[in-house]
């Protein structure tokens, strides 16, 4: 395979995040929380295919709407 592969990208807006920790609870390998203010840290912006289900659940479960999944391209 050559060129770019379509992939799923996780984006997070720490300004919107309320630090409930639902993402870090649902998928601790993909998300963590800042020690400073508890807001979301994305550990793996481009999750492996096998982890996309949990990434979707984390996005659905986010109470503040700070998380998004976007179809992007791997560089």
């Amino acid at each position: 395979m050559t060129g770019t592969m379509p992939t799923t990208r996780i984006t997070a807006d720490p300004q919107v995040c309320v630090g409930s920790g639902m993402c870090a609870l649902t998928a601790p390998d993909l998300f963590d929380q800042s020690d400073k203010d508890g807001t979301v840290l994305v550990l793996q912006p481009l999750p492996a295919d096998a982890r996309i289900g949990d990434a979707e659940e984390a996005v659905r479960g986010c109470p503040s709407g700070a998380l998004r999944l976007a179809e992007g391209s791997a560089e």
């Binding site: 920790g21 929380q33 800042s34 203010d37 659940e57 109470p63 503040s64 709407g65």
Partner: protein, 403 residues
């Protein structure tokens, strides 16, 4: 008679439950007919009651709805209705009753204290606290009141550790907070207890000025972001939101498991099931039985109805969590089901700040009780266990158990 007429709540929420662990049946009818239905609050204000899961989730995430105290109403008709003015009597910094940006300012100061990772580091402490309660129960003999001898002191002790209430003040703190949660307090008695708590917290805070510790109170005091009165307000909020709720979930959850022997056996057979069991008990019991209220700041069209600006919607969390569209066979407790997504901790920007601590406390509490007391049983006729129908947080007033 027209059998299509939907029931109408004319005086706030009904208190009478047909069965102690299920919301009143009228909410099921409402959800089936009108998941957002008009209602009249006990103070005469017209508003809405929301019983559908999707509708509730939508409203709770919608920034056109306000959380301000001035627009909230008492949910149950009560003799106390005229004695308490939510807006006037509110201490400062009660940010559950605020909108952004005021809400954001307080919440952001606290979120780092309650992250998943931070709370995990507290687990050994919580386990020691639970073990201490078990030892105290054993010292009394073969029976105890689980509310007084386990749940309330365990929850109070966890809060003390979190806030940094020192050992020597803990007995007074536990006594006052237990009184604050006890039944049938007259308003002046409640005020005396709250004054006592505020006094105690003030004393402890003075100590932290001299001798900082590694705790939430020290960080608030030395962070320099809040006035002293705001710090007291924040601590009071954390106490009310974190203590009464955890204590009641521990007791009511244990009562529920003891009344559901098949579910209990599953959990006893596989301790790892506890995370799931806690999620399911949170869903099934939804102890915030007065729900939460949101007021549209402009007219909002939703699911075929128009919620006019100023008409407060009461999101009835217990029935939202029993919506069969979201949770199949919702009235059955099933500790193996996927209960994630329940709205017990609410949703949106006000979703419970302490929910990760609550989860750990409940996991440790149930695991400890079941492990240490393999013969744990109710020590009373279930029909004689007094339920907290009249209280803000549902639960049991007493829970006699034996082992």
């Amino acid at each position: 008679m027209n059998d299509m007429v939907c029931p109408y709540l004319t005086n706030g929420l009904p208190k009478v439950r047909e069965r102690p662990l299920d919301p009143p049946a009228i909410f099921g009818q409402l959800r089936a007919e009108e998941p957002i239905a008009p209602m009249t609050f006990p103070d005469g204000a017209r508003g809405w009651v929301v019983t559908g899961y999707e509708q509730a989730r939508t409203i709770l995430a919608d920034s056109r709805f306000s959380s301000k105290a001035a627009q909230k109403h008492l949910a149950f008709a009560s003799d106390l209705a005229t004695d308490f003015d939510l807006e006037k009597d509110l201490p400062p910094a009660q940010f559950e009753h605020m909108d952004p940006p005021e809400h954001t300012r307080y919440r952001k100061l606290l979120t780092a204290e309650f992250t998943v990772r931070r709370v995990k580091t507290m687990v050994p402490q919580i386990e020691r606290i639970a073990a201490g309660r078990v030892a105290a129960m054993r010292a009394k003999g073969r029976s105890a009141d689980l509310v007084k001898d386990f749940s309330v002191p365990m929850s109070a002790h966890v809060i003390c550790e979190l806030l940094g209430i020192p050992e020597e003040a803990r007995a007074r703190f536990e006594e006052l907070s237990t009184q604050a949660l006890s039944l049938d307090k007259k308003p002046e008695e409640t005020k005396a207890v709250l004054d006592g708590l505020v006094g105690l917290i003030g004393e402890v805070a003075m100590g932290k000025l001299e001798q900082p510790g590694d705790d939430l109170l020290t960080r608030l005091i030395h962070g320099g972001q809040l006035e002293p009165a705001e710090i007291l307000g924040v601590l009071l909020l954390l106490l009310v939101a974190g203590h009464e709720t955890s204590a009641n979930m521990l007791s009511l959850g244990t009562y529920t498991l003891l009344r559901e022997p098949e579910q209990l056996a599953k959990l006893r057979a596989d301790e790892a099931l506890v995370e799931n069991a806690v999620e399911e008990l949170l869903r099934y019991l939804t102890i915030v039985h007065i729900g939460v209220q949101r007021t549209p700041t402009e007219d909002v069209e939703l699911a075929g109805v128009t919620l006019k600006a100023g008409e407060t919607a009461l999101i009835h969390l217990p029935s939202v969590n029993r919506d069969p569209e979201r949770f199949p066979d919702p009235d059955t407790l099933d500790v193996t089901r996927r209960a994630a997504g329940h709205l017990t901790f609410s949703h949106g920007i006000h979703q419970c700040l302490g929910q990760q601590l609550a989860r750990q406390e409940l996991r440790v509490g149930f695991t400890t009780l079941l492990r240490e007391f393999p013969e744990l049983r109710l020590d009373a006729d279930p029909a004689d266990i007094p339920m907290r129908d009249n209280m803000t947080i549902y639960g049991v007033h007493r829970l006699p158990v034996a082992w």
